[in-house]
């Protein structure tokens, strides 16, 4: 059952002064959906627009056009303070940098208590304390952490506090923007395991935003690949990894360092970033694409279903035979 979906979600930023006004297309015409208790990974390189999507979903930015629908209601119709508060409680965000996302002047309990006071007005003081203890243990921390200051905690512990704060609202969907990229490699897995545990135990959905496709595979059910503001491929994570349809996904997968596999050096691609300032129609990957044909120059490809639940935005990709059968 769909929890949240976007329809033609677009965000443009104006750059330059009055003389040379240009438009940066951070997110263009994105349709995505997240089901209940689903973990969806949004993967892309820096500048692909994945964090812009996170901020649009968290209502930090207003979309330029398009719509976000939460539980079948458009966000634009939630205008009152109470409605937007309810949405923020349902869809909290966990940030990338655990060193700057916690207020250093307050104990850990403070942030959790504030969230509880704001979003769960029905709880009394004793219940709030109880709830704080519950969420702190749900993220695998000792109760004593509540009375510590952020500087006394390690990066991994702080990031768990970030998840505990989000959990205190009884969220439906947690937006996690690169939650492990600032952490040491040896403790990243612990946080990823926490995300899957929260889905099981708390019943939340998670949008996991990352540049690391291997960790995306590790936690998610479905994978969305972004390139230059577009979603270029979407599907069940194992299907996408086993049979990537879009040439960009194929390039991305071939570049992941893997000590267990031989090095592939056949690609001369230098990883040059795409141009998203005043882009012309056509596929935005065509300059780097080994398969580009004439039509790629003129027509922006749209997501097409190529296998069950698996689609790609590419003129060249072919559907799997199983799909054409009735």
């Amino acid at each position: 059952m769909t929890l949240l979906e976007t329809v033609g979600l677009t965000k443009h930023f104006k750059i330059g002064g009055n003389v040379s006004r240009r438009t940066l297309h951070a997110v263009d015409d994105v349709n995505l959906s997240i089901d209940r208790q689903e973990i969806v990974a949004l993967v892309g390189e820096s500048g692909s627009g994945k964090s812009t999507i996170a901020r649009l979903l968290a209502r930090v930015y207003q979309p330029t056009s398009g719509e976000i629908r939460y539980q079948d209601r458009p966000l634009s119709s939630m205008r009152t303070r109470r409605q937007s508060l309810a949405y923020r409680g349902d869809v909290p965000m966990v940030f990338q940098d655990p060193f700057s996302s916690l207020n250093p002047a307050y104990r850990v309990a403070h942030g959790i208590m504030r969230g509880l006071k704001l979003h769960r007005r029905d709880l009394n003081r004793a219940q709030r304390r109880e709830e704080a203890l519950r969420v702190i243990s749900a993220v695998g921390l000792a109760p004593g952490v509540l009375d510590r200051y952020p500087h006394e905690l390690s990066g991994g512990q702080r990031q768990r506090v970030g998840f505990a704060q989000a959990l205190a609202y009884r969220p439906k969907l947690i937006i996690a923007d690169e939650p492990v990229s600032m952490l040491d490699v040896s403790i990243r897995i612990g946080l990823l395991n926490l995300m899957t545990a929260l889905r099981e135990q708390e019943g939340v959905s998670i949008l996991y935003i990352t540049h690391d496709i291997a960790s995306a595979r590790y936690v998610s059910d479905r994978l969305l690949v972004m390139y230059a503001g577009h979603i270029v491929e979407s599907g069940p994570v194992e299907d996408v990894l086993a049979r990537p349809k879009h040439p960009y996904t194929q390039l991305l997968l071939s570049a992941v360092p893997d000590p267990r596999a031989p090095l592939s050096t056949d690609s001369a691609d230098q990883g040059e970033p795409p141009r998203v300032i005043d882009p012309k129609p056509g596929c935005r990957f065509r300059w780097r694409c080994p398969l580009a044909i004439d039509v790629c120059e003129r027509v922006t490809p749209e997501l097409r279903l190529l296998a069950p639940g698996h689609s790609a935005a590419c003129h060249v990709a072919t559907p799997e035979p199983s799909l054409s059968e009735p």
């Binding site: 512990q157 395991n193 496709i213 991305l252 360092p257 990883g271 040059e272 970033p273």
Partner: protein
């Protein structure tokens, strides 16, 4: 060519000094690629800065020697060092964004380096700058560009070009790819390796991402809490990691291939170097720790072609360690 012996670096603090690098030995042969891996705070970057003699207070080398082409860098004066720096041994920093001057052109920065270290004519500088830029796959037209006009990958390439200006024998690299996307990262790694084969310089490459160097380095050093815990030929360390920490690090990366299976990572977090654990510094996080690990500091034991700082490999326990690995 480079021979580091018993190198220790301490950071002075209000209390007891913090030993960030503790008695490190390291040998780099001409043309060799040495990878140094470890988590943040393990001392890998401090080691690298010490080798380049770029440490500034409160950090200082407190023991050991760094012999580079027959000269002990530790006892050299700044003036003597300047004669070696960049010509014989150059450094590529982590973030080209911060290492390049944003308000002058790439070409001007090449000229700066050339004037500081070599007396070349303007023509010679221009010619050589264009040559090294072409080496790394950048059009020399970008000598007139400012850093912000280049992409992250190009800036990092320009940094490497600058390091190669005088064809050094040793290039020290501190996570040069960490700010790049995977595609740009692979492209740069492949290029570094090609240049290295072509020009024959040696590389000391520091990274936190063990899988990154797996296909590129000849020798691999794994550091933990200021100590080398494992050292050996790269393939050996990857195929049969002898130290539980190396094994844990390898296990900490999910793969995009094979069956999807739960991983455990390494429990706990890296130690505070101001108060390192007693005995083996990894014992509080070690899945196979024994009682004596808390009290005995293990030396580096030979394990096949590699060496590991773990009591499991003590000669008297050798049969057991074979069973375990």
């Amino acid at each position: 060519m480079l021979e580091v012996r018993g190198l220790s670096v301490e950071y002075a603090t209000d209390g007891a000094p913090v030993v960030a690098v503790d008695g490190v030995d390291l040998d780099v042969a001409a043309g060799e690629f040495v990878g140094v891996v470890g988590e943040s705070g393990c001392g890998k970057s401090t080691l690298l800065f010490a080798i380049a003699r770029l440490l500034s207070p409160p950090a200082a080398i407190t023991a050991g020697s760094i012999v580079f082409k027959g000269h002990n860098l530790v006892t050299m004066t700044e003036k003597q060092l300047n004669a070696l720096r960049w010509r014989d041994c150059s450094v590529v920093m982590q973030s080209a964004m911060n290492a390049l001057n944003p308000i002058t052109t790439i070409g001007a920065q090449f000229r700066d380096v050339a004037h500081a270290h070599m007396d070349w004519s303007a023509d010679e500088v221009a010619e050589r700058s264009a040559e090294v830029l072409r080496l790394v796959g950048i059009d020399p037209i970008h000598l007139k560009s400012y850093p912000h006009q280049l992409s992250g990958g190009m800036r990092q390439r320009a940094m490497i070009a600058m390091a190669l200006l005088f064809t050094p024998d040793l290039v020290i690299m501190d996570e040069p790819t960490s700010a790049l996307d995977v595609v740009a990262q692979r492209s740069l790694m492949v290029q570094i390796k090609q240049l290295q084969r072509q020009l024959g310089f040696a590389v000391v490459f520091v990274t936190h991402d063990m899988s990154l160097v797996s296909h590129f380095s000849d020798q691999l050093l794994v550091m933990y809490a200021g100590l080398i815990v494992e050292v050996g030929p790269t393939r050996t360390v990857f195929d049969s990691p002898a130290h539980p920490y190396s094994r844990g690090l390898l296990e900490a990366f999910p793969s995009i291939r094979g069956v999807r299976r739960p991983l455990t990572g390494i429990p706990g977090s890296p130690p505070d170097l101001a108060r390192p654990p007693s005995g083996c510094r990894f014992h509080p996080r070690c899945p196979v720790a024994m009682p004596e690990c808390a009290t005995t500091e293990p030396p580096l034991y030979s394990v096949g072609r590699a060496q590991a700082r773990c009591l499991l490999h003590a000669p008297e326990r050798a049969p057991l360690s074979e069973v375990r690995s």
